[in-house]
Amino acid sequence: MPPPPPSPKLPSGASKGPPLNHIGLPQTEYRGGKSTLCAGCGHDAITAAITRALWENAANPYRIAKMSGIGCSSKTTAYFLSKSWGFNAVHGRMPSVTTGAMLANHTLNAVGISGDGDSASIGIGQLVHVIRRNLPMTYVVNNNGVYGLTKGQFSATADRGSKSKKGELNEFEPIDLCGLALELGCTFVARGYSADRKQLIPILRAAMHHRGTAIVDVLSPCVTFNNHAGSTKSYDWGKSNEEPLHEVGYVNPWDLDEVDYEAGSGIEVTLPDGGVLHLAKLGSDHDPRDLEGAKDLLSQAKAKHKFLTGILYIDEHRPNLIEGLRMCDEPVGTLPQSVLRPGREALEAVMESFR
């Protein structure tokens, strides 16, 4: 049995007051504005998990870029980390805005939040292409199978045969965002459940340390429009069908010597920050570096109408977009004029080329 994921320790001398993380911040410092979502909305639970994950990771709040599109889900970037910049873009286009922001300043840590409408319908093109480019970012989809903000239409992730609140049957094949990501060669693919906080937090923590695009598809029931019988995105459905792949733990580099996973107790993957992702075997002994294995597991779960959660796939080696472009270490946005503007000789050389 692996030990439980380490809870952040209190720095010495701070024995009173709320617990502080590695950079000395209490969790409250990762909070955002008050949520205006419906009471019980899965999205709020995801927001809480993100807040917690950021705190456990001791993320530098000033370097988080909270990116989103439009939808109830996309609003949630306002509900965590008030200390960070947020960009609530237009519907379905969060990935491109994030790409631009990261090209300008890749020292930022992009956390994108989207919905299933935002990502699987209007935004599917940008989703596909951000994956293809392996942009370093965490891409969370708060997946409720409906358009919450526009009052409950089916989204493209709604299962065929599932029922709307009004009782209509969905006729269309669902898009499985994890399956799609795997097919596209996404370098980090995970699925979570808003109500399974214990698993979701370490998944998010690992995602935020991944070198490329980390897709985290999270079932997030919409209590107002899609939490009835006949829905396959309800709390009941999630609870009855969840099948966690493994127990997920993420250990910060500075905690490594304090954690002692039993040898062979699971699979360990070291991420670029030096932290270690630990996956303790539950049902299967899937190695998340096995792409074909991941695809197969997903297909099987689909056939059995099971809701597989966990980290399906990770390729920790493939260079990301920034690396592929061989960009300099500094953010290009704020380079000084001396770097940005070529000198007089440069201009003269160009002029000569036109003579």
């Binding site: 530098n60 000033y62 370097r63 870029a65 970037t77 306002a78 008030s82 200390k83 960070s84 910049w85 947020g86 960009f87 609530n88 873009a89 237009v90 286009r93 990935p95 491109s96 805005v97 994030t98 790409t99 631009g100 922001a101 990261m102 090209l103 300008a104 300043n105 020292t107 930022l108 093109g125 940008q126 596909v128 292409h129 480019r133 977009l321 472009l325 061989r326 960009m327 300099c328 500094e330 953010p331 290009v332 946005g333 704020t334 380079l335 004029q337 770097v339 940005l340 503007r341 070529p342 007089r344 440069a346 201009l347 160009v350 002029m351 036109f354 003579r355």
Partner: protein, 614 residues
């Protein structure tokens, strides 16, 4: 032969006499046959002789096999727009040969592929049949024949027109400098063409001739898209997301080439990113993301791309994010004629997107202005935190223009109102509001993500927000915010490039307004109208929207003012009528919209008939 008689095909044949350094040469060929190098050689050689010339490529939306024309206007007066009817025709496309010949000016020289047998078509032109297929055999191995044929016509034309071999040689050296073998073959081809012409033809007594002048100096020959690229790089562009579309692609290619040249280290590290997006929506989204995060970002596109970018452009306006958008206009609507020129996205760009929006337009008329105004665009975008459009067109962007060499920028980059941690602390974090108008100019201060200070962060959104960037649906906050945006636009009015005004001596009660590439035919038309019809106009060239006060003053000072533009609907006229209501009644439209660059003759005729000049 007076400069404009050649443009009158109906007139009786011109009086004999040699026309020196003033003619329009048209090369009619098939695209994909590699005639570009030959045409470039011709024009460069003429320029080497110190004589002004400009080239326009009329090409199809296709890769291989359809008709294409290259038009060279040679004119020592510096007029650069080809006349409607060619004076010298090089006829290599069987499909269009008949039409091409029929459209020539009377007295024209027709150099053509001998098997076409064109010499019965009309008898007021001179024919020069060239057996290209035979000649080419002596020059190169079969697989090069198609390419080499082109250099043969260069030789023939050069001989007939008196273009010196030294000039041709210099042009060839430029083109093939690094490839001695290709250079050699091409020199030989030109020589064979020359020899054939010398041996087979006698130059007619009337006709065309290039003579050495000293009118070029250190001028350069380039297309507007290259100038845009250079301007962008001199402005420090760092993020260039784009999606291919004719005729804007080469603006990006130029940008990328200069970035590779000047902004990549020896070890391969780049201080920039050029990224082909999956479409225009993504391209502009990336520009906004980068602009928001503090980088100078630009994209280039054409009409269809602008339409696709509309939603994001509205976001840029309302959330106040810098963006530079190069729109190399082509003929719309829809796919239209992608390789033909028009100034037809004026309204679409000025008021782009839904809701109340207004966007600044920069209106270059030359590669020099493409260069300058692209730099301006970046400064304006960052200062005003909004999308700036540079409106070029096929003609300006993709054709070759003579230009004075570009000056090195004389002012530093203006990165606009950005607060770093220090400045923010000086103000007091609580005092600062992302959308507060503290300076009375409508322009708020922003921070860039990454400032390590509590209170420096803010939330960007396209939905209603107050001065502190907080979400609100308050009517008063909404109203105050959009009124500030109007104030910002007023400030902008004073900072965009000012119009150029050129009054006639003594002034005229009538004014003409033009912009962009219409300028060149306009000045030609104006000169001719003055010389030949004694009709004079004052002239104002718009260089930007919003309109500087000088624009309204110009209209105010005249009885009536013609607005010349290359579109069907009088889009600039519409913009002026709305934005300058006090003087709107004086404005009249003068439009041209067939996809070819507007001709001096068209402007002349329109003005003459409007003003009822005899």
């Amino acid at each position: 032969m007076t400069p404009n008689s050649a443009a009158q095909p109906d007139a009786a044949a011109a009086a004999p006499g040699v026309v020196v350094n003033d003619f329009t040469l048209s090369v009619a060929t098939v695209n994909g046959t590699g005639s570009q190098t030959a045409n470039a050689t011709l024009i460069r050689a003429i320029i080497r002789m110190g004589v002004p010339a400009s080239g326009k490529n009329i090409f199809p939306s296709n890769i291989q096999g359809l008709p294409t024309w290259y038009l060279i206007r040679v004119c020592q007066d510096g007029w650069i727009v080809p006349r409607e009817n060619a004076d010298v025709l090089i006829c290599l496309n069987r499909e269009t040969a008949r039409d091409d010949v029929m459209k020539c000016a009377p007295g024209a020289w027709v150099i053509y592929d001998a098997p076409f047998k064109l010499d019965m078509l009309r008898d007021d032109v001179h024919y020069f049949p060239v057996p290209f297929a035979t000649l080419v055999r002596d020059v190169a191995p079969p697989k090069l024949w198609k390419l080499v044929t082109n250099m043969l016509y260069v030789g023939v034309a050069a001989e007939l027109l008196g273009i010196e071999m030294a000039a041709i040689d210099a042009a060839l050296a430029k083109a093939f400098g690094s490839k001695p073998k290709a250079y050699e073959i091409n020199v030989k081809a030109v020589q064979v063409g020359r020899d054939h012409a010398r041996e087979s033809f006698t130059r007619p007594a009337d006709g065309y001739r290039v003579e050495q002048r000293d009118l070029i100096g250190d001028k350069i020959l380039l297309d507007g898209n290259s100038a845009v690229g250079l301007g962008a790089v001199m402005a420090g562009v760092s993020v260039v997301p784009w999606y291919p579309i004719t005729p804007s692609t080469s603006a990006i290619e130029a940008t990328e080439a200069y970035l590779e040249q000047f902004r990549r280290d020896a070890d391969g590290t780049a201080t920039f990113a050029v990224l082909q997006a999956e479409d225009e929506l993504a391209a502009i989204g990336m520009v906004l993301g980068a602009g928001w995060a503090g980088a100078r970002a630009m994209t280039a596109t054409s009409g269809p791309g602008i339409s696709l970018m509309s939603e994001f452009i509205g976001l840029s306006y309302y959330a106040e994010i810098p963006a530079v958008i190069i729109n190399v206009q082509r003929v719309g609507p829809s796919t239209g004629l992608p390789t033909r020129t028009m100034q037809c996205d004026i309204l679409c760009c000025a008021y782009n997107s839904h809701g109340d929006t207004k966007h600044p337009l920069l209106l270059p008329a030359s590669p020099g202005e493409c260069y300058e105004m692209t730099m301006d665009a970046f400064d304006l975008a960052e200062r005003f935190q909004t999308a700036i459009f540079l409106l070029s067109d096929v003609d300006l962007g993709m054709n070759n223009w003579l230009s004075d060499p570009f000056a090195y920028p004389d002012r530093p980059l203006d990165r606009g109102k950005v607060l770093d941690a220090e400045k923010l602390q000086a103000i007091g974090v609580k005092e600062w509001g992302r959308y507060k108008d503290v300076d009375g100019d409508g322009i708020p201060w922003r921070t860039l993500p990454g400032v390590e200070l509590d209170g420096a962060a803010y939330f960007t959104r396209g939905s209603g927000h107050n001065e502190y960037a907080r979400y609100t649906e308050s009517s008063t906050a909404y109203e105050a915010n959009v009124e500030r945006l109007l104030r910002k636009f007023e400030t902008l009015r004073g900072e965009v490039p000012v119009p150029h005004r050129d009054d006639t001596d003594g002034g005229s009660p009538v004014g003409i307004i033009a912009f962009g590439t219409s300028h060149w035919s306009l000045v030609e038309a104006r000169d001719i109208l003055a010389k030949e019809h004694g009709v004079t106009f004052d002239y104002l060239r718009l260089r930007a929207f919003p309109f500087s006060d000088a624009v309204e003053a110009f209209v105010q000072e005249h009885e009536r003012v013609y607005v010349v533009e290359q579109n069907r609907d009088g889009q600039m006229l519409a913009l002026m009528r709305h934005e300058l209501p006090q003087v709107a009644a004086k404005l009249r439209g003068l439009r041209y919209y067939d996809g070819m660059p507007i001709h001096a003759r068209h402007i002349m005729n329109d003005v003459i008939s409007n003003e009822r000049v005899a």
